[in-house]
Symmetry: D2
Subunit: 390 residues, 4 copies
């Protein structure tokens, strides 16, 4: 009961935010809106909430947007908002994957900061082009690899960086789900349908949807660069066009090894994202489903269970913690942290300053790395499981 | 990934909310503000955020309140807001316990709905008077026994009500913390200071602060009425004026028995609120620190682990769930659920209708029951541990 | 892989053991036999395995006992064995409770050491008489409060004794089962039948069967003496003559407090024996169902998970550990430790020496303390829940 | 309290057992002796307990063996025991790996049944020869892949065989340890020294020591045949001659996929053997360190936690269970089950019958499969991580 819940206070006026996608029938749009709102850093003022104009406008009405800022298309929105003196400063892109790049280009050209869902694009080439455009634009580009917003993920990263684990040797990461155990996409379920459609999702199924999260998490915590991988992608459900299970061996620069498993056909798993890292001096283990605990195991000493905000909490974790330890924070809070760090960066950028390269939130470069990972994994698997360089 | 995150959309305009208490240096005020904001049902527009006028105004400025609605006292605020056509519809009271009743009276008289922290008051007599006033007023009075907002607590209550546990026999509830293991109040730590001061906290220390939460949770889930109790209150830390540990035996109407343990001197426990209920046909177990899981154990069958939103989720849990199972929701989401249910009730009450007696959020009657529990426990303990009727 | 499994080697010839009770249809007799055999310290050579002579002899045959040492009654056996040059040195008494005292008296009079199940007797008066006889006899009397044989229970005791927890404040102990949730004794199930029959079990049902284990464990680990208790015994199942649920508040000498809960009607619990101890400097927590882990929580430091034989293992635990950490030991191994420590004491006593008062295994005095606990709890409950001195 | 502990009774006279290896300073020999003794099925009567004759005899003396059956060499022992009318019926081979085959050959030729530690030999060629010899000999050959003796491993196998998981898709198995995180073999620690020496251990380090256990467990539970693998073996500790970490991708006949990870350099892991199996209808998960629990997760239903002997226990588990659920059995009990099943088979073979091919304990064929697995993994890794057929 002793920590101040400080993040929600004193941030001056809110950042004007727009959204593309996320209208009626969508899932992740609502999550983005809660995340934006939670720390009171944003106000949603404009949207092109669906690719169908009528649905876009009805959705905007439900959210209480002003009639003239309820746009029928993202192109129209980018143009109109850029022209307004009170136009949006940032836009959230929460469409299916294949629309990320075109929408982002339109808003970057309009001088508007981007907050974009992952994976970045549907092809690596497109991702490279987009990253180049971002670098030129001087605009911020935040990719919502939201799991990096969990306080104990920050603590894990800080522990590794402090040398507490010694030289890293092993990275075991997995993300297991079960919701595609049966052919759900055949039932018309919308989330399943686009995620299993190569045109909308890109070349990776489980690989793109959750494998990239696992890969990003491992990279974020360890700071290791992946050198080569050997992948086995499988579509277990008959007639499914994309992989629903991914097994990958990993070789990192500097000699660390590891494995990544992502599956959507593992009954009994909901969002089983779990990371284990081992070095010459110690190990750590974190699992997303109970994110307020982190195991830290210095070699030769008793295992220690660190809690979010409890004894042993590092400043990197404490600064993104809202409430005392023992009161769980969850997925939405971690997501909100990405938004709030983006808000800090947007405010810093107002003076015309280039964004600070040291910021912690995931950027277009992380999104690009994710696409390189997808491309290499698909290539390796197609070649029968050949080790493939990134 | 298949459940729609629906609660955040489509609620028309926001309810105008004021706040008393919760300024600089406070803890729970910030939690209430996030809770009010999370589902986009409220807009904070006025406040008397501290009993010191200067701090009250500085705190309001930080939160971006309009200058003329940054009040120096709650009396002034109640009067001024009642007079405005755009005055607040509801006020959150987040002061130390001894101020709950006077502030509530002022706003009730001004015709404003109340959302109030617990315990309700510092004495049972005062609680009775306040409850009587609420009943006359026709205003809503919500007590933030926030743990009842957790989806799986709702599921637990629904399971009991469905008869799945058979006739209830046993209620084992506990709330263990460790933050007062040493004499923290002597260090000037503000949260510790007022909670261990009978003038501000009332007759219960751990009893009032967390014992009432445990009692409320047990009552909410089981629906049982407590008949008698036998209490042992102890102040383990030398010179502490109020109890820091509470051991209570329970006899419920209808024959169920149980025990309640609340402690603030149990090293290794952060917010160890845990409930176990057993009946003639089955049992259940829920713990606040990992609130997205609920054990359900029908007698003679394998134990089942229910998850928030997973297989076996009941509608009572699903309707207060924002995101798919496997993505943890936490303390703030449960707190927000209380606020959002209050918002539903406030909107329903706009037509002049009396509040629906079937609403689930905790009311002044629950607050009153909590005060009766405190009074009986203190009396029992003072009498050397005599069984005492409520 | 680094610890030597040493206890099983090099103990010279085996101790000659007899057994009373434990024939066909019994449960605990077989456990005692495995426990005696596990470390190769005993050889079972004689028995009066049932109160029915025919069944006693058939049972002996099954176990491969010599025909002339398969006795029809314990009186005959005590007499005959005392007369043999190769007679038994020790006898295991594994009858229902009401027979413990008469059998023990017979063998003590024959100069034979005793290993006896708990609770010691069916009344406190009988227990006092028996303890007096033991003291006079100079024979060893081991009571199989087997849970004290678990290595991490030894570690917990050593941690408390070392002062690592500071001044003890709280003892929360529980033993929850579910096997008597329904009226199993009415089905003719033998274990249920005698345990719910006051004539065979004594005045306590759940209290005697498992409450005494919980009480013994708490006493063993903390070293605290119980001063007063306040008990609520309930028979939830209609027509059951003895309690099936026990709720007790505890006051220890020196000011520590606590609670003990034992139940046989808590669905979902198998053998949920769990102990938590808290002091001014730290806490610990241990649970029987996963006995190879012990939480140690120094106040203000991260929680530590100690493992049997892992980092931080104390010599008190290591000396009763057979295999490396990570390879679980269980109930039978803990039980065997009691037997093997008894063997050490028996060998020491061969020289005529009085048994070492510092031995760790539970003795007749612990058995006596258990009977005093039962009697006080029954008296307290009968008086309507009055605090009662021991 | 309701299950009879039956296995320990009524088995007639004990099987005469010899042992090769396992003298002073050894570890696993003691485990085998406890395992042999636990259910009272064997009597240890002869031994060549060390390759050094003096140590062999001193070790035998400690164990109480008769002087003339304390042999200085295994050759002498095989010859002498074969010639005795009361010679041993079976021999336990508990030497370092490179001695398994020569010792086994000597005793097979003497007509004596074999119980042998794993891995079977140090090369696949040697394993093939040995297996051929066993087939000719008509003698029993039990390989102590002891983890298959755990009751819930039997239950897992039975669940898979029953079709409860549907068509198998995924097998994720791992065995993580940390005891070789540093260069322990350089300190003279005997267990580390021989396990990291190719001459004594064979071509696999972690691969042979624990990877084979993981592989055997996965094969035992799923019944799947491995078709191809892709392996990455690493020696993280400088100067270590054998692998201390193993990452392997798996392709099974019929289309199932999976991964196997074995490591001895993962700080915080003791004996982290864990198996997860997923099929089209459900999943299961079991971990050796808390072996009395098994998760069974039918798709679309709540997760079920099965306990050893609790509700839902199948006969395959119940028949190898000694004590009621909630009282943990551990490593030694599982090991003893292999020994006791071997005893059943030995008794059956007395009549001259060939051993029943349906027996559950691991045989020379399992040992041979383990050697093929080692050889394929080493070849794959040496080829830079090429997919390799078995």
């Amino acid at each position: 009961m002793v920590i101040e819940a400080g993040r929600q206070t004193g941030f001056g006026h809110r950042i004007r935010l727009g959204m593309v996608g996320g209208g009626q029938g969508a899932f992740i749009g609502g999550v983005h809106r809660i995340a934006a709102r939670l720390d009171d850093r944003y106000e949603l003022v404009a949207g092109a909430l669906s690719s169908e104009p009528a649905r876009a406008k009805a959705s905007a009405r439900e959210l209480g947007l002003a009639e003239e800022r309820a746009y029928g298309s993202y192109e129209e929105m980018a143009k109109a908002e850029a022209a307004r003196p009170d136009g949006i400063e940032a836009v959230s892109i929460v469409t299916p994957n294949h629309m990320h790049a075109p929408v982002a280009r339109a808003f970057l050209k309009a001088g508007i900061h981007i907050i974009c869902d992952k994976p970045l694009t549907t092809t690596l080439a497109e991702a490279r082009d987009l990253a180049a455009l971002v670098r030129e634009s001087g605009r911020l580009f935040v990719v919502t690899h939201n799991y990096t917003g969990y306080p104990l993920v920050r603590q894990a990263r800080a522990l590794v960086a402090s040398g507490a684990l010694g030289t890293l040797r092993l990275v075991q990461v997995e993300y297991a789900q079960d919701w595609l155990t049966e052919k759900t996409e055949a039932t018309g379920q919308k989330q399943a349908a686009w995620r299993t459609d190569p045109k909308q999702a890109g070349a990776g199924g489980a690989l793109g949807d959750i494998g990239t999260h696992a890969y990003n998490l491992a990279s974020f915590v360890t700071g290791l660069k992946l050198k080569e991988l050997c992948a086995e992608l499988t579509s277990f459900v008959e007639g499914r066009a994309l992989d629903d299970d991914v097994q990958i061996l990993l070789r990192f620069e500097g000699g660390a090894k590891g494995a990544l498993w992502a599956s959507q056909v593992a009954p009994g798993n909901e969002n089983g994202l779990k990371l284990r890292v081992y070095g010459s001096k110690g190990g750590l283990e974190w699992a997303q489903e109970n994110p307020n605990q982190l195991w830290f195991t210095p070699f030769g000493e008793p295992k220690r269970l660190l809690t979010r905000g409890g004894a042993g909490a590092l400043s990197e974790a404490a600064r993104v913690t809202r409430i005392p330890s023992g009161h769980p924070e969850g997925y939405l809070e971690g997501f909100a942290t990405i938004y709030s760090e983006a808000a800090d960066a947007i405010i810093a950028a107002r003076g015309g300053a280039k964004p600070d390269p040291a910021v912690t939130y995931p950027t277009v470069e992380d999104g690009l790395a994710g696409m390189a990972f997808i491309e290499a994994a698909v290539a390796s698997s197609k070649a029968g499981g050949r080790w493939t360089s990134l």
